[in-house]
Amino acid sequence: MELARQKQARIFAAQIRIETLKALGHLGFGHLGGSLSIADLLAVLYSGEMKVDPANPNWEDRDFLVCSKGHAGPAIYATLALRGFFPKEELLTINQGGTHLPSHCDHNLTPGIDMTTGSLGQGSSLAVGVAMGKRISGKDNTTYLILGDGEIQEGQVWEAASLAAQQKLSNLIAFVDWNKKQLDGYISDINDFSNIAERFAAFGWDAVTVDGHDVAAIADAIENAKRLDDGRPHCIVLDTIKGKGCSFVSDADSNHHVTISADQLAAGLAELEEELAKAVAE
């Protein structure tokens, strides 16, 4: 990844975190932990990696992103608003009656959301279907899938993973947000799904683990996946911190769904603004 793009992606990631925190802070609560952990990935995807058109969200030839951990919707909404899919002010309507920005991703409500998710595991099959559909149509799109590390406890993920390998879906890239925590606590204490890359590799996938907060590492992993054309689908495990960027979230024991006080909002924004200034100054 060239330096100019790295800088652009770092700035974008900081902006995504700021807008996500503002939106959920305005509401006073939300799935902040798992939204903040994927901001760097979203910054890479939506700053040139994905074929999308903000003026035509349902463009037939677009690349699909299926965010199977549907509760990370707020981070994607921030990303889409920053990319011009809809006005930024609408972010403040998250989860209010009549909004087009619900807690969990909904293709039918939000311009730029490609697939409806919210029941964990299901996005994996949907993404496999999209990748198969694109291939039947003779299209060379890449289909992107975001899974949570807790989510992969769902058996459906592995049904889909097995079929993706059987169907040789090299046009599918799955990211696993390895932020180590699920709603009830540490994954290692509940139903340990560590060795994620090894598990996917055992299912016949090309799998690597990278620093999920290093935009250059993420971008390079995606480029490597796209270059590798041996029929295997790709899994990029993102080593991340749940709540990354806001210490009141990342330091909390339980940070899947958090309440956000006015003081916490102000402190979090100050931290993130500092991060943004650093990225701009680099």
Partner: protein, 322 residues
């Protein structure tokens, strides 16, 4: 809607699954969006011919039904029109969340074929005998549920559903059906068919119970009772207008279904009646029981899915009619 009845109570020459395969192959020939997925049951669904003719659009996903539903939904988001198959219980109760969320709530399109409804699961027995699939599917907003009576109807209904978007459930007996309709009959999804006029009582039936209801109407006629027969092949959305008309004109209803009387055809009809035209009603169907193995004759008797039981219920409802 033109209706030409066979009226002979004879089995058809062609199996339902053969008609399904032929229809989907005809559709696939002119429409590139048609795809077919099965969960290790190509041998049972009779779709091997389709897979041979259209290998790039036929997928055996293995024994993973929930994944199959999601994959089909994903394909539909890229403009495909998927048909998927498994045995009724696995296509529905095993996949409820995927059908609900990945397909219906997400407004994707999947035509789900659930085979061998109710007692037609025969020797596969209780584990494979869905008396609850209509109830499961009826709970999903926007879902369309059809139970084709014979191959003439099946061909028509499959073509019509292939042109609609959304979640569709086709309750399909794989093997031979009793022929009720001659070629030339036309069907409209959402509209029941009055296949026999009558003024004393209306028998509302679906699937294998349509021919039983016709036989019951003939027996009742011998005893001087005039029974109307309606084929309610679209179980959802139910044809409320036709039910209200039948209630107003005949004043008594008997529903006949190869399914539990809980949340199936009987429930759907009762919901219409109690809110609009309350009249005495009786239900022929499975009484809150699990299935078991046996041949069709044994199972029909065992669960009361016979013309004789319909006759008895018709007399019971007439006794309640004021």
């Amino acid at each position: 809607m033109a209706v030409v009845l066979a009226n002979k109570h004879e089995k058809e020459a062609v199996e339902m699954r053969a008609a399904l395969c032929e229809t989907l192959m005809q559709l696939a020939e002119i429409r590139e969006d048609i795809v077919y997925l099965d969960a290790d049951l190509f041998g049972s669904s009779g779709m091997k011919k389709f897979a041979k003719a259209y290998p790039d659009r036929a997928f055996d996903v293995g024994i993973a039904e929930a994944n199959m539903i999601g994959v089909a939904a994903g394909m539909s988001a890229t403009g495909k029109t998927p048909f998927v198959h498994s045995f009724g219980p696995f296509a529905t109760r095993r996949c409820f969340d995927q059908l609900f969320l990945s397909v219906a709530y997400g407004r994707n399109t999947v035509n789900v074929i659930g085979s061998d409804p109710g007692i037609t699961a025969l020797y596969n027995g209780g584990t494979h005998m869905p008396f609850e699939d209509v109830g499961i599917m009826r709970n999903i907003p926007t879902a369309i549920i059809v139970e084709p009576t014979d191959t003439t109807m099946l061909r028509s209904v499959v073509r019509d559903l292939s042109e609609k978007r959304g979640l569709h459930y086709i309750r399909l007996k794989r093997k031979t059906a009793i022929k009720v309709y001659e070629e030339g009959t036309t069907f409209t999804i959402g509209k029941g068919i009055t296949i026999r006029e009558g003024s004393d009582v209306t028998l509302i039936a679906a699937g294998i119970m349509v021919s039983e209801a016709l036989a019951a109407a003939e027996q009742l006629a011998v005893e001087g009772i005039s029974a109307r027969v309606i084929d309610m092949f679209t179980l959802k959305p139910i044809d409320a207008e036709l039910i209200k008309l039948a209630a107003a004109e005949t004043g008594a209803i008997v529903t006949c279904e190869n399914h539990s009387v809980i949340n199936g055809l009987g429930s759907a009809v009762a919901e219409v009646l109690v809110q609009n035209t309350p009249v005495p009603m009786e239900m022929v169907g499975v009484r809150d029981e699990f299935g078991e193995v046996g041949d069709e004759a044994y199972l029909k008797e065992r669960f009361g899915l016979t013309a004789a039981n319909i006759v008895a219920k018709a007399k019971a409802v007439l006794a309640r009619k004021k």
